[in-house]
């Protein structure tokens, strides 16, 4: 009843109200801002010296390679320094939109092609149509599939840097010791299974089926496409991995364990380590393996295309794209510098040495690239590489449903059909939810 009471209550209410307004008032409407920011024309940077913040997830062997490219870039463009910051890809995609929306985002970044749609929908990255127009880039300069993968709702959001398809690595020594010819690795189901049988007779579990995304999940997707299936339907609102092709794909992977060609309950990375330690013979792994195995002293290996286990050829591929984050206060100089940086990096042939297949055709057809045996072997897959479809949020949905189903089925707790059906049922709810949410 006294003055004190009212003052306190008022104070509390005022404080609550103020903070509330502060919080909900922020956010704005990112979509309008995106269309407002335009890239200045031209292909060179003549502005004042600046440092670009460059974020990516290259925490592994590709990190140092990118740093070399950055060094070369700065030599050619002395007034543009580039500061590279890395985080694990998982954390990267969680923090990327948050940093951008709170104004602490980078000037240029790398994102996988399957993450472009959700970042575009969140307004985290800006369309790059005029950027590529300025640089004179078009589909003919790239592999068709990878160029298309950067488009979401009719706008381009990424400039493809590379492709990293899944390939089959071979431990040549293990093969030789088992009496197989490492120069002639298996190319189809029959010869692959025959090779595994022979290896088994020599006590080697030749092909490990890992329950993790790296590498079992990627293996599954490749097989799904090989058997003629698709992850989702055309508009991305329903899962289709539980149909016949998916069942065949996952059953084949399970058969590796059942037939003794793979141990059970493989830990994360354990298959990779076993491969390097000579405990297995074949390793379905991405292009990043080139750097990893190349750096392992005394390790004899080769790289070839995935065997065709299914009815057609297919290989999962991801693609790193260069993107430009939205800036609440667009800075023409920074945008121009970013554009020049993107141009330089995508043309650099040395990125291939990190084990990537360049997306740009000119880089792929260069002499320097052709000298890289392993990467060239992967490049042969270009005509039939497959990218995950551009559905926003698909990666997260897939992670919480399909990836779990693969782990469950391989772990033996659930039958293949059941695991796939169950995961598809749950995924459908999430996909429908996302479809409506991002439909704007």
């Amino acid at each position: 009843m006294g003055r004190g009471d009212l003052t306190r209550r008022e104070l509390l209410a005022a404080g609550a109200g103020a903070t509330f307004v502060l919080v909900t008032g922020c956010g704005g409407s990112p979509r309008e801002e995106i269309t407002a920011a335009k890239f200045p024309g031209g292909t060179s940077y003549d502005g004042p010296p600046l440092t670009l913040d460059f974020w990516n997830g290259f925490t592994g062997g590709d990190g140092p390679q990118m740093l070399t490219i950055i060094d070369a870039f700065t030599k050619e463009h002395p007034n543009v320094k580039v500061k590279m910051v890395t985080a694990r890809w998982e954390d990267f995609y969680t923090k990327f939109p948050a940093a951008i929306s709170s104004g602490k985002g980078p000037d240029v970044a790398v994102a996988h092609s399957d993450q472009l749609p959700i970042n575009a929908a969140h307004g985290s990255i800006v369309p790059l149509d005029d950027l590529v127009a300025d640089l004179g880039l078009s589909e003919s300069d790239f592999a068709a599939d990878v160029w298309q993968a950067g488009i979401y709702q009719d706008r381009r959001y990424g400039v493809p840097l590379d492709m990293h398809p899944l390939g089959m690595y071979v431990n040549t020594k293990v093969l030789k010791d088992a009496g197989l010819d490492p120069e002639d690795p298996p190319k189809d189901r029959a010869s692959y299974e025959a090779a595994l049988k022979k290896l088994k007779s020599k006590g080697i579990q030749g092909s490990w089926a890992s329950p993790f995304l790296f590498t079992g999940g990627l293996q599954f997707q490749s097989l799904l496409w090989q058997f003629g299936g698709e992850l989702v339907n055309v508009d991305g609102s329903r899962a289709s991995w539980n149909e016949e092709p998916g069942v065949e794909a996952l059953s084949w992977m399970k058969s590796l364990i059942d037939n003794g060609y793979s141990p059970e309950n493989i830990g994360q990375d354990a298959d990779n380590i076993a491969f390097k330690n000579g405990e297995s013979a074949f390793m379905w792994n991405g292009a990043w393996g080139i750097g990893d195995y190349g750096a392992t002293e005394g390790f004899e290996w080769s790289l070839t295309q995935l065997p065709q286990i299914g009815t057609e050829k297919a290989a999962w591929s991801g693609s790193h794209n260069l993107v430009v984050p939205r800036n609440n206060k667009p800075d023409a100089d920074r945008m121009q510098a970013a554009k020049v940086f993107i141009d330089f990096v995508t043309q650099s042939p040395s990125w291939a040495e990190a084990g990537q297949v360049p997306a740009r055709t000119s880089a792929r057809e260069s002499e320097a690239f052709k000298k890289l045996e392993a990467q060239s072997a992967l490049a042969e897959e270009v005509p039939y590489v497959r990218f995950p479809p551009p559905v926003p949020g698909l990666a997260d949905v897939r992670e919480s449903t399909l990836d779990q189903a693969i782990a469950q089925a391989l772990g033996g707790g659930v039958s293949v059909k059941e695991a796939l059906d169950d995961s598809a049922k749950r995924a459908n709810q999430l996909l429908k939810f996302n479809h409506e949410k991002y439909a704007a």
């Binding site: 502060l22 910051v85 890395t86 694990r88 602490k104 990375d269």
Partner: protein, 290 residues
Amino acid sequence: MEAATAGRVPGRRAGRRTSRETLRWIALILLTLLYVAPIVWMLLTAFKTEEESALTPPTLLPTEWSREALDTIFSTSSQTPVIRWFFNSMIAALGNGLLVLLTAAPAAYALARMEFRGKRLVFAGIVATLFVPPIIFLAPNYEIVEALGWLDTLPAVIFPLAASAFGVFFLRQFFIGLPKELEEAAILDGASRFQVFTRIVLPLARPALATLFTLTFLTNWNDFLWPLYVLFNPEHLTLSPGLGLLQGANATNYALLMAGGLVASIPVLIVFTFAQRYIIEGVSRSGIKG
């Protein structure tokens, strides 16, 4: 009478005593091994090359003591500035501890010694939140911290945690237990409440304050979930999310991982060796009042 001289009776009783003593020592030593061995293993692995750290079967001592992993950690262009993370964690934990003392002590004193309208309501409100699990605060505090512009900065890991009701509750218990005479005498002498608080009460409260500071420091030091999501830039991370960063995307360099752990542990263990008496006594007092 028999019992009173139990220790001095030779023969079977004493024999049982010594064998019990021996068992006790064996248990303590085995346990110590269990605690020291992993740390030693971490140290040995930090000095191996990447390949050697992932060998099966593992080697005990490094075949060649390599500084490769440690060099990576200490290199200036490093993507993994473990030293920086250590300092960030230190600043955050110290800042959090100090902030708690600065805010909770006066508040607890007011609730313990002063009468005012609404006191019961305020105290009830504060104590009620003791039972609210911290996960509730995760999403809304994230938005609030973002609105304050504190995302990716150290204030984000200092301020929100300092709002915990535990400090106020704990100190209030302590203040209530202090005899009132000293304070009342000072007031009669004309001292203001503030002077009574700072000159008389706080010095008496030193053990409780030390305990609270220690607990708050350790809680902040061990905090993992919150810093993981509010800090992004590797340079701004604290140790907990930072060390997680050392696990690579497709393959983990275990020598590097252990080197990171080692660099994070050594300074802490050094401080602990000197301050362990205070730290442990601080923690042990926390359970008494319960």
